[in-house]
Structure formats: C-alpha cells, structure tokens
C-alpha cells in the first residue's frame, strides 16, 4: 500500500487549532495558496512527457516553472506572517510612560502595521497568479488528473480572500490614508475577476469529470 511519508500535516493543524496567536489565518492563507500552486504543479508533472499531450508540453513546462516559483514564495510567507505579527506585538510592548515614549511607540506601531500589511497583500498577489495558472491547467492538463486543477483553483481563491481579510484588519489601524487607499485599491484590482476566473476553471473541470 502506498504510504504518504512525512506529510506531517497534523502537527501544523494542532498548532493552528491551539490558543497560540500564531500560526493563524495569515499562515493558513499562505498554505492555501501554496497548496493551490502544488496542485497546478501536480497537473503539469502528470501531463509533461505524455505523448497524448505533446502539443501542450511547452505550455505545461512553462506553467510548472511558474507554479513552483509561486509555491515556494507562498510557503515562505508562513514565517513572514509570524515575523510581521511579532514586530507589531513588539511595537505595542514599547514603553508609554512619557509623551516622547508614546510618540515613539505610536510611530513604531504604525510602521510595523504598514510592514505587516505587505505580507497579506503580497499573498493576495501571488494567490491571484495561482488562480490564473490553475485556469490554464484546467484547460490544457491531463484529463486523468484534471480534478486537481479544480481543487487547486478553489484553494488559491480561498487563499486570496483569506489574505484580503488580513489586509482589511491592518488597514483599519493605519492612519496614513494615502497608504491605506493605495493598498485597498490594489486589493480591489486583485479581487476583481478572481471569482469569475475561479468559477470558470471549476466549471471546465466539472464539465470534464462529470
């Protein structure tokens, strides 16, 4: 019987379920995106080298390279999310005895929140790219594993919308309006069309497997 070695997903889920503040939704969003990218890669790896799919071989190799790059960037964000959280917590922990203390603390908090906002917004960008790759995989991938493109696109879309929540949270606490307007407008652009592309890819897959 096939045994999945080293999946070790349970220790991560134990940590996620616990009352520790991290890993939390930010890390989960990065993993959702990474899982989406991994499933696109799986479709590519099971299409490349098959005679029947020789005409899409080049496309699949290109898709695989992009998906693997995105996957590694997304899983790298798990630690980045934890680090950003720690930086914000550190700023909140600064002394607030004197007015000078308070000013320095406020500035450090605002700075940390801005940095922390970069993590989920980057997660949104990467997840949006995975959605587009999953659409291509659903169109051109090996029919025997096409459902994995469907799972991949759902996972990537969940990543995008999850990371969006973390953008909203951070932005709400940042007083620099030109910064927050810029981030929210970028986020709207990333979300625009993501749902439609996700449903398009899912419907293609559902049509092929039903």
């Amino acid at each position: 019987m096939t045994q999945i070695k080293d999946t070790a997903i349970e220790p991560f889920l134990d940590a996620l379920a616990s009352s520790a503040a991290t890993p939390g939704g930010g890390s989960a969003a990065a993993i959702l995106g990474g899982m989406g990218a991994a499933l696109v890669s799986m479709v590519c790896n099971l299409t490349i080298g098959k005679k029947k799919y020789a005409d899409v071989e080049g496309d699949m190799k290109d898709l695989l390279a992009k998906a693997e790059d995105l996957r590694h960037r997304l899983t790298g964000m798990i630690q980045e999310d934890v680090r950003a959280f720690d930086t914000v917590m550190g700023a909140y922990g600064m002394p607030k005895e004197t007015d000078a203390d308070k000013a320095a603390r406020d500035a450090a908090i605002q700075d940390a929140l801005k940095q922390a906002t970069e993590v989920p917004i980057r997660c949104c960008r990467l997840a949006r790219e995975v959605i587009d790759l999953a659409l291509t995989a659903s169109e051109k991938g090996n029919l025997n594993v096409i459902s994995d493109a469907g799972v991949g696109v759902l996972s990537a879309n969940a990543a995008l919308r999850s990371a969006a929540l973390n953008v909203y949270i951070n932005v709400k606490m940042i007083s620099d309006k030109s910064f927050t307007d810029g981030k929210l407008s970028e986020l709207e652009n990333l979300l625009a069309g993501a749902e439609a592309t996700t449903e398009k890819a899912y419907d293609i897959v559902k049509g092929k497997v039903s």
Copy 2:
C-alpha cells in the same frame, strides 16, 4: 521571535506537487477541511476563558468539541483517500485473460469504485459541518481573531467543492445507477446552501474587521 516548530508543511506540498498519483486532490480536500476545522478551534480556544465572552462560553466549548472531532476525522481521510485509490488500482491490475477473469475484474473494479466514492462523499459531509460551525464562530467568536473564522469557512467550502469533484469522477465510472443516483442526490443536498452559508459567514467577518 516566535518560531513555528514542526509545521513541516513543505514535505507534504512537495509530495502533492510531484508526479506521484497520491497524495492528490482527495488528500488536499481532506486537508482543506481539516484546516477549516482547526481555524474554528483556534477561534474557540481564544474566546473560551475571556471575561468579555463569558456569555458564549458554553457555546464555544460545544463548538470546540465538534470542530476538534471533525478535524481529526478529516485528517484521517488523507490516508483513507490513498488507500481507496490503491484498492481501485489493485482491481484494475487483476488478470483479464479469460472471460471469468474479466468478470471477476469488472466486479472488483465496480466494488472498489463504490468504496472509493464513500471517501469523498464523507469528506463532503464533514466539510459541510465545518462550514456551519464556522458560521457560528463568525457570529460569536472573539473579535480579535474573528478573521480566522472567515479563513476557516473559505477553507471548508473549498474542501466541500473539491471532494465533490472526486464524487463526480467515481460516479461516472460506476454502472449501478441506483447507487450513483443516491450519492449524487446526497451531494446536491450537501452543496445546497453551502455557498450561501459560506458567503454569510465571510460577510459577517468582513463587516467586523473592515
């Protein structure tokens, strides 16, 4: 700095991305569901014991017990999915020299496919329950971690729709129409309302964090 120990998510994603047939979309669906349940648990664990949320303490304890039970059943399905796949592959590998061989092989394949269909349909059932729990978490959970309920519901809904694809795939190859009609009708019931509940929970969370 906080370090996430033993997350070990990367070896799993490496295996997922590879050209090995398992783990594939079925395992990914189970993990999506498990992640959804873990995030509901996290919201509960960070709500229980807080004075501000004393009035929902009982609800949260109940929710936590249900979410943890679902989480362990969902992560257990990763291996079940692999096992079901191996059983189907084993049946396909049976001899087909004589007519008797062929009949025995066909019967074994049909039997294995029926068993294999139970795995994704059970995953759908469990994911549907996680969606409902996440809605309660979004309504009653600690505001400071409410976004995790939003990530949880997206993850659980992706699990449900992912597992549904694997139901469609199996059902297509099963000749016993009363069996397939029964499974497809149960699936439609599970999908009905899942999207609306997911969007309701997500909107509640988005409203609270924006």
